[in-house]
């Protein structure tokens, strides 16, 4: 297939680009101590949380934006961003779905995330975060019967302050990095999950993030704690309207797995990527980290990253407990002018800790895609093992893929394996499939799905299908 043909299969329109016309309570752009105090006050937070924010803000002011990633973008004006936007509600906040603005419910309906009664048939509990606040959480009763806490972060502040005080910032310290410090100062909402000892969460938990308001940033905070022997699978999905200006999204996710606990965290990230000329799109600077604190605990990250103009994200595992396990499965797709710099860190501290990294990067159009990984085996990590597989697939003549793996081994009993490959989506592969009767587009999807297969296998069933469709949409027009 000629290059020309190749160029003509990557370009369907972004499906979630609509704007919801809803009255919102938005702070004027700008960031200072007063803004932080206002956010904390609006949320009715206890003193320790305000102190946490102020400390983070003080730290943030001493820090500079990192530029080590292979990303190219205009400087971000942090004073031009509004740090709080919430749909206006007549009362204090929705007590049940009946109190939620119908326009909001319609928005989620449109996005394929129905929050209504019939959604209960799907068997997935959903927390929906619209701009800065959580608008609805489904299945609360059933979950609480099992002892599971799944609620908006701002609610957990009131109901479980002791858990927050104990765990918040314990995996990602406030000064961890520039964006984490910013988030710690201004985060507005997010999801909170606590699975008590020995409980297997009876259903998939899911949070759906939506940025709507213009000129706002979204800074959500997610904290998931699986106590001893607990087990949970959590999914997150993200979309945003199409806007010409770039919007900042700087989230922090902290996971804690105690002894024999297991957390599976899956992401399908589809923030607005900007148009085909690179105008607009979400700047996605996210810090995600999990700590396997106890023996035999396990944390598994699976991500499908198709959206955002810029993705800067390295979901990581700190393997403290002996025999703990960390996993990272990733498909990152960049098309047109998208830039993705993503990967993981596996920090082996405990004995016989084990980690697996499978990264699949796809770059099409003029996009650039980088894998950045760090595997550290500490002196204490006797018998630790890591396996890394890192593959890149290029489509067309103008896409780029880079791989930056770093391995740091301080214990000679460790086993570290690294496999890497870069391939071009073969014109021969396309020709072969087309000769068998498939259209160029179907052939591309077939080849790309095959390339991503061992990551998709890690996703919960419904998400695997969604991920395949998303990939097809993202790459539409990149071959033809």
């Amino acid at each position: 297939m000629s290059d020309q043909t190749l160029d003509s299969v990557i370009a369907k329109r972004y499906e979630h680009g609509f704007i919801t016309d809803i009255e919102s309570d938005t702070l004027p752009p700008g960031l200072d101590e007063h803004v932080i105090r206002t956010i904390s006050q609006k949320k009715g937070e206890p003193q320790f949380l305000l102190d946490f924010r102020l400390k983070a803000f003080a730290k943030w002011k001493t820090m500079t934006e990192p530029h080590w990633a292979a990303l190219d973008y205009a400087p971000i004006d942090y004073q031009a961003i509004s740090y709080y936007s919430a749909p206006k509600v007549k009362t204090d906040g929705p007590k049940s779905l009946d109190d939620v603005d119908p326009k909001l419910l319609a928005t989620y309906e449109k996005l394929g995330v129905p929050l209504h009664e019939r959604a209960r048939l799907a068997g997935v509990a959903v927390d929906a975060v619209f701009d800065s606040v959580s608008v609805a959480t489904t299945f609360k009763d059933r979950l609480s019967k099992a002892g599971v806490v799944f609620c908006p972060f701002s609610e957990a502040v009131k109901t479980h302050p002791e858990l927050l005080e104990r765990y918040l910032g314990s995996v990602v310290p406030i000064g961890d990095n520039f964006f984490a410090a910013l988030n710690s100062a201004v985060f507005t909402d997010g999801s909170f999950v606590y699975i008590p000892k020995g409980v297997r969460c009876p259903m998939e938990l899911s949070t759906y993030f939506r940025i709507n308001a213009a000129n706002t940033g979204q800074f959500e905070r997610t904290l998931i704690i699986a106590d001893e022997g607990a087990n949970v699978s959590y999914l997150e999905g993200c979309t945003a309207p199409m806007r010409d200006e770039n919007q900042l999204h700087a989230a922090v996710v902290e996971l804690i797995a105690e002894r024999d606990a297991s957390i599976k965290y899956s992401t399908v990230q589809n923030w607005y990527p900007g148009d085909e000329n690179g105008v607009g799109g979400i700047y996605n600077f996210v810090t995600k980290r999990g700590e396997c604190r106890g023996e035999r605990s396990k944390i598994s990250w699976t991500q499908v990253e198709t959206g955002s103009a810029i993705t800067w994200k390295y979901p990581s595992c700190v393997l403290k407990g002996d025999d703990s396990v960390g996993e990272f499965y990733s498909v990152a797709v960049a098309n047109h002018h998208q830039q993705a710099d993503t990967g993981t860190k596996m920090i082996h501290l405990g004995q016989r800790t084990k980690s697996t990294i499978v990264s699949k990067g796809i770059a099409a159009g003029k996009a650039s895609q980088s894998y950045r990984g760090l595997v550290t085996i500490a002196k204490s990590a006797h018998g630790a093992r890591n396996f890394t597989q890192c593959d890149s697939l290029l489509m067309g003549e103008h896409a780029a893929a880079h791989t930056y793996p770093v391995v740091d081994v301080k214990n000679t009993s460790a086993t570290v394996e690294h496999e890497a490959s870069t391939s071009k989506i073969g014109e021969d592969q396309l020709f072969y499939c087309q000769q068998r009767g498939l259209s160029a587009e179907d052939a591309t999807n077939l080849i790309v799905n095959g390339f991503c297969k061992n990551v998709f296998n890690e996703l919960p069933m419904e998400f695997a299908v969604e991920a395949q469709n998303l990939l097809a949409v993202t790459l539409e027009g990149s071959v033809g």
């Binding site: 043909t5 592969q429 087309q434 000769q435 009767g437 259209s439």
Partner: protein, 250 residues
């Protein structure tokens, strides 16, 4: 006899270099033709061009396939119209199972003919039947397309695909290359099974060996981008005895 493929005075270039220079050939429906010739004669070029590979620029001539202008059709239109190319070097597609590609291919053809998607049970029955005919293990079906297959397995897989897809015109490009004698017999058996009054088969080959097992109705010698001699099966044996120089000189 109904014409399946009629090529007239075909001239074609690859990267401005001529590879076909006035090739003419007529293939009747139900016939088996062998196209032989020395290396670099244009044998593979011909089959790839007919399948629609973009690298070829046709500068003159015409190709009629079942009454249609073949050159005006896209790669997949040709495939869905019943043209099948057995690749000299079958392509690997990691992560995509053989059976998945086969089903997608079969359904693409059925869709084009206005038929519903193949029933899953019927499909599996059909595929298993042909898999055993090609002496392939069923585990094959669930492995990635040609992924880690030996040369012989790849070629058998091509014939398996042909049997499932039931083309009207099968172009088998050097299907015998890289095969040991046992695999060659299996492949030949598969091709002979596919012989039918409704199907034309073109064997592109360098060696006469394959033709001991698949006896063609016609043999053509391709050299310097055109057919320089045609005959029946005995021509292949003559070539084997005397070499290509004999044809090229005479």
């Amino acid at each position: 006899m109904t014409d399946c493929l009629t090529i007239e005075n075909l001239h074609a270039n690859v990267a401005q270099k001529p590879v076909l220079n006035g090739l003419s050939l007529r293939i009747g429906l139900g016939e088996v033709h062998a196209i032989m010739g020395p290396n670099g004669a244009g044998k593979s070029s011909l089959s790839q061009l007919l399948a629609g590979k973009a690298d070829y620029e046709v500068t003159a001539g015409s190709v009629n396939y079942l009454g249609r202008d073949l050159l005006g059709l896209s790669i997949e239109e040709r495939a869905c119209a019943g043209l099948f190319l057995g690749f000299q070097y079958p392509i690997e597609i990691p992560g995509v199972s053989n059976v998945y590609l086969l089903k997608a291919a079969l359904n693409a053809r059925r869709k084009q003919r206005g038929l519903p998607e193949v029933d899953a049970f019927d499909f599996l029955t059909l595929v298993k039947q042909h898999t055993s005919r090609m002496k392939m293990d069923e585990a094959f079906l669930h492995r990635g397309v040609n992924e880690g297959f030996s040369g012989g397995e790849k070629k058998r897989n091509e014939i398996l695909q042909m049997l499932v897809l039931e083309p009207t015109l099968a172009l088998l490009d050097e299907t015998d290359s890289g095969l040991d004698i046992d695999a060659l017999k299996v492949v030949a058996q598969g091709v002979n099974y596919a012989r039918s009054p409704e199907r034309s088969i073109v064997l592109v080959t360098h060696y006469q060996r394959l033709l001991d097992y698949i006896v063609p109705d016609y043999v053509h010698v391709l050299a310097n981008g055109k057919i320089v001699r045609s005959g029946d099966a005995s021509l292949a044996r003559e070539l084997e005895a005397k070499g290509y120089d004999w044809v090229l000189e005479s």
